[in-house]
């Protein structure tokens, strides 16, 4: 394929992915809207299970099937439920398709440029979108997170939309500072983190909404989990992302030492990476501080994501920094 064909193919794949994801978004939205069931009182609290008599109700043959008990105890009309589930499944399939298309777009971009596709902000952004989808789909292999789809597809589409409209640049050589294998290590870690941080911000935001509903005595949307479950998921995702982010920052420091002669120089990009790191460290602390575990911790998780986004868009575009290679 010639260079122009490669370029066209890469762009076409990115656009096709956006169209697919838009349909996925609609499917998830339908699923979300049809999930108006209430989560009924799920199970007696542990302390109520004290005698053999009351536990007998809950006996089941294997531990892994216990969730079936849960679904049965929830009310709601079956049609509603079926529509919801079906469209969620369609949403998931479309998300996979969108992911594959976007992967093709990113790879073709790399082939076209003859290097890793991380030379400017357009390329960072489409790869970050890929990272968001990738982390979500990876999690979906291990647990049922279809209900989260809407909140993943929306930020992905926003990222891609911004990429193709505002940030688009033709492929070009890497500026010399980016020619390093640390680029690959540092940026790939950061991109996976961008996916995980986005996922965690989505679950933390949902946890806030749910916990508000729960405080008002409602149980919120059934397709969305309880606030406590959402907070646990947020923690899981961030427990994975935090060491990786630490690693990304350290890799960046090693690279900076190699390129500029100092491993840390409080350049705005470095500063915001540090701020992001500190906020997420605070999140992990909040999880084990009395009075901070619930909504406050969720807010801290969202603040961490905000710092990450400020670093990505704000610093690249508005602040003059050694790291300004946005290409915009």
């Amino acid at each position: 394929m010639s260079a122009t064909q490669l370029a066209a193919a890469s762009n076409a794949a990115v656009y096709a992915s956006m169209v697919t994801l838009t349909f996925a978004m609609v499917a998830f939205a339908i699923s979300f809207a049809s999930g108006r069931r209430r989560v009924a009182v799920l199970a007696p609290a542990p302390q109520e299970i004290d005698s053999a008599g009351s536990t007998a109700l809950l006996i089941k043959s294997t531990v892994s099937t216990q969730s079936t008990v849960l679904t049965k105890s929830a009310g709601g009309t079956p049609t509603d439920d079926q529509t919801g589930r079906r469209s969620a499944n369609i949403g998931m399939s479309l998300t996979w398709l969108g992911f594959v298309l976007l992967l093709a777009g990113v790879v073709l971009r790399g082939v076209w440029a003859g290097r890793v596709p991380w030379g400017n902000m357009y390329e960072f952004s489409i790869t970050a979108a890929l990272g968001i989808l990738g982390v979500f789909l990876l999690v979906s292999l291990r647990r049922d997170v279809r209900w989260l789809g809407l909140f993943i597809v929306i930020p992905t589409l926003l990222t891609l939309g911004l990429a193709v409209t505002v940030l688009y640049t033709e492929a070009a050589q890497l500026v010399p500072a980016l020619k390093s294998y640390w680029l690959i290590i540092h940026v790939s870690a950061a991109i996976i983190c961008s996916g995980a941080f986005t996922l965690a911000a989505a679950t933390a935001g949902l946890a806030l909404v749910q916990s508000r509903a729960e405080r008002r005595g409602k149980s919120g949307r059934a397709r969305v989990r309880t606030a406590e479950k959402l907070r646990t998921l947020t923690y899981r995702v961030l427990a994975f992302a935090f060491p990786l982010w630490t690693f990304a920052v350290v890799a960046g420091a090693i690279w900076a030492e190699n390129a500029w002669g100092r491993y840390w120089g409080w350049d705005p990009k470095e500063t915001w990476a540090f701020i992001t790191w500190v906020i997420y460290a605070a999140y992990l602390h909040a999880r084990s501080t009395v009075g901070w575990r619930g909504d406050r911790a969720s807010w801290v998780a969202i603040a961490g994501w905000a710092a990450f986004i400020i670093n990505y868009f704000g610093v690249n575009i508005f602040i003059n920094s050694l790291h300004s290679y946005s290409g915009v």
């Binding site: 799920l42 199970a43 542990p46 299970i49 053999a52 007998a56 809950l58 006996i59 043959s61 294997t62 531990v63 216990q66 008990v69 849960l70 640049t169 033709e170 492929a171 070009a172 050589q173 500026v175 010399p176 500072a177 020619k179 390093s180 640390w182 646990t232 427990a239 935090f242 060491p243 630490t246 690693f247 350290v250 420091a253 090693i254 030492e257 190699n258 390129a259 500029w260 002669g261 491993y263 840390w264 120089g265 409080w266 705005p268 500063t271 915001w272 540090f274 701020i275 500190v278 906020i279 460290a281 605070a282 602390h285 909040a286 084990s288 501080t289 009395v290 901070w292 710092a307 602040i319």
Partner: protein, 517 residues
């Protein structure tokens, strides 16, 4: 029974100290200090910082004569060395030490303590199960013991129960992480106190030797003396640059590299090296980094009598991505003094010289725009003068002209001429020595290791009890408890159940536990 009453001892001085200490080392304080650290870091990314960009700081202050000095006094231009920033991180680290030391002691003890014995009613625990087996109680306990110790659980074996605990590495990892943070701080301090960093511009063909006087800018820690600089030297033989000529990112640098010859000690044999952006040259622990480059136009100045008063290349500093560069030529010995302000453009706009703006960073069509001044350039005032700036306060302008390479300008007042004969390239180097960086790296690696241990290892306890009921059947109870929510504990219990029961397939066994979801 009367209500219990809380009676506090009188506080006193010691009590106050103890109270303050306890507050300082509490989780809540750590959390607040972490937030403060995040917030305190922000201004440094908004205001220009002296350490990175002293020129921009000066401009900023000059542009806002009222607020500038106030912000300056508050340390907004030196955020990361300001007292308030230091206060936040020092408090945080004191809190950290005060928090981690006692925890280390507790953890040390816990590592050698036996796990707590089985509670009376195991089925009260959130994760538990109960089933009957045909083997004897002793047999069940022996199997359980074998299974658990094979998996490196810590055991306490009682008459008809086993208590087991695992996952101490979690707390070990957490402590390792926090200690590593201290190590990193020490490394930074080490670099700050014993390290140094200098910048120098070297023109092609010129040399540099590592002494203080040769640097354009130099900063060293408190314990770095000039005598500690290792006496190496190098010469910039050749400087290669290439710029992108494609449509997309026209003018962005594709490559730049400096070919140098260097000597580790005066008089030793010269070695060749190539310094590129991501490949510094390391000499004797110090690293030489290529950080920038630019043009040094060559001028020949003659006086009215035709004698050469100046004949050299002059470093011009780039002002934009296309290397529109500015610089000055000073002829202090002529009477009256003569000075030139110049703008060098590597690619002048074609045909008519539109103005002093370069359209491409490569030297496709170099030109200079010179403005000549005569008078007193203020060298006698004693104040140090920048070599890149001409103080024209007591000078008169005698003319402006654009010169192409090879052209000569006869000054309008007949006092001589200036010729633009060509140009050289220069490269700027940052030379840095940081004895703390290896320690910092070690700290970072340990911190990540500690984090991984601490976030992915779960500390958990399990208990097995085996008793014989009234019908003579062995009843086994299993229970587990995890410090943090753990999805795997039920699975772990199932494995233990399989290990202690008679058949590999235990479909007949019934288990009870809480419904999780």
């Amino acid at each position: 029974m009367s209500k219990p009453e809380l009676i506090l001892p009188p506080m006193g001085a010691l009590g106050f100290v103890r109270y303050t200490w306890r507050q300082l080392t509490s989780m809540k304080t750590a959390l607040i200090l972490l937030f403060l650290l995040a917030i305190a870091s922000v201004p440094g990314s908004i205001f220009p910082q002296r350490g990175n960009n002293p020129l921009r700081v000066n401009e900023w202050i000059a542009d806002s004569p009222t607020s500038g000095p106030i912000f300056d006094a508050l340390g907004f231009f030196d955020v990361y060395s300001s007292p308030w920033f230091a206060a936040v991180y020092l408090l945080l680290f004191i809190s950290l030490i005060g928090c981690v030391l006692p925890r280390t002691k507790v953890h040390w003890r816990a590592m050698f303590a036996p796990p707590p014995p089985a509670p009376r009613n195991l089925l009260r625990l959130p994760e538990s199960m109960s089933f009957e087996v045909s083997a004897s109680a002793n047999e069940v306990l022996a199997r359980g013991r074998k299974y658990l110790s094979g998996r490196r659980w810590r055991l306490l074996v009682a008459e008809n129960s086993i208590a087991a605990e695992k996952g101490f590495l979690r707390e070990t990892g957490n402590l390792l992480f926090h200690f590593s943070l201290i190590l990193i701080l020490v490394a930074i301090a080490l670099g700050g106190l014993f390290g140094w960093k200098g910048n120098v511009i070297v023109r092609t063909g010129q040399g540099f030797s590592n002494t203080l006087t040769q640097y354009d800018a130099w900063g060293g820690g408190r314990f770095t003396g000039a005598s500690r600089l290792s006496p190496f030297s190098f010469t910039l033989e050749k400087f290669n640059v290439e710029f992108d000529r494609g449509e997309a990112q026209r003018g962005s640098p594709k490559l730049f590299e400096a070919d140098v010859t260097f000597r580790r000690l005066p008089g030793t044999e010269a070695e060749n090296a190539r310094i590129e952006v991501n490949t510094p040259l390391e000499i004797d622990g110090a690293k030489v980094f290529l950080v920038g480059h630019g043009y040094a136009p060559h001028f020949v100045v003659r006086n009215a009598g035709g004698e050469i008063t100046f004949d050299d290349t002059v470093v011009f500093l780039p002002q934009d991505g296309n290397f529109t560069s500015t610089g000055v030529v000073k002829i202090p010995d002529s009477d009256p003094q003569l000075g030139f302000q110049g703008i060098f453009v590597p690619t002048a706009a074609s045909n008519n010289l539109r103005g002093p703006i370069s359209t491409f960073p490569g030297p496709d069509d170099p030109a200079v725009f010179m403005s000549a001044w005569r008078g007193d350039m203020g060298l006698d005032s004693g104040a140090p003068q920048s070599v890149y700036r001409l103080d024209t306060a007591s000078m008169d302008q005698i003319g402006i002209v654009a010169l192409r390479q090879g052209q000569i300008w006869k000054l309008p007042d007949g006092s001589g001429s200036i010729a633009f004969t060509g140009y050289q390239r220069w490269a700027s180097f940052q030379i840095a020595y940081d004895p703390g960086k290896e320690v910092a790296l070690l700290g970072a690696v340990l911190a990540i290791t500690g984090l991984l241990l601490s976030l992915f290892i779960r500390r958990r306890r399990v208990w097995i009890s085996a008793t014989v009921n009234s019908e003579g059947v062995t009843v086994v109870q299993l229970a587990g408890l995890a410090r943090i929510e753990s999805a795997d504990l039920p699975g772990e219990l199932e494995l233990i159940r399989d290990a202690v029961s008679d058949l590999p397939d235990t479909a007949s066994a019934t288990s009870t536990d809480e419904i999780r979801e």
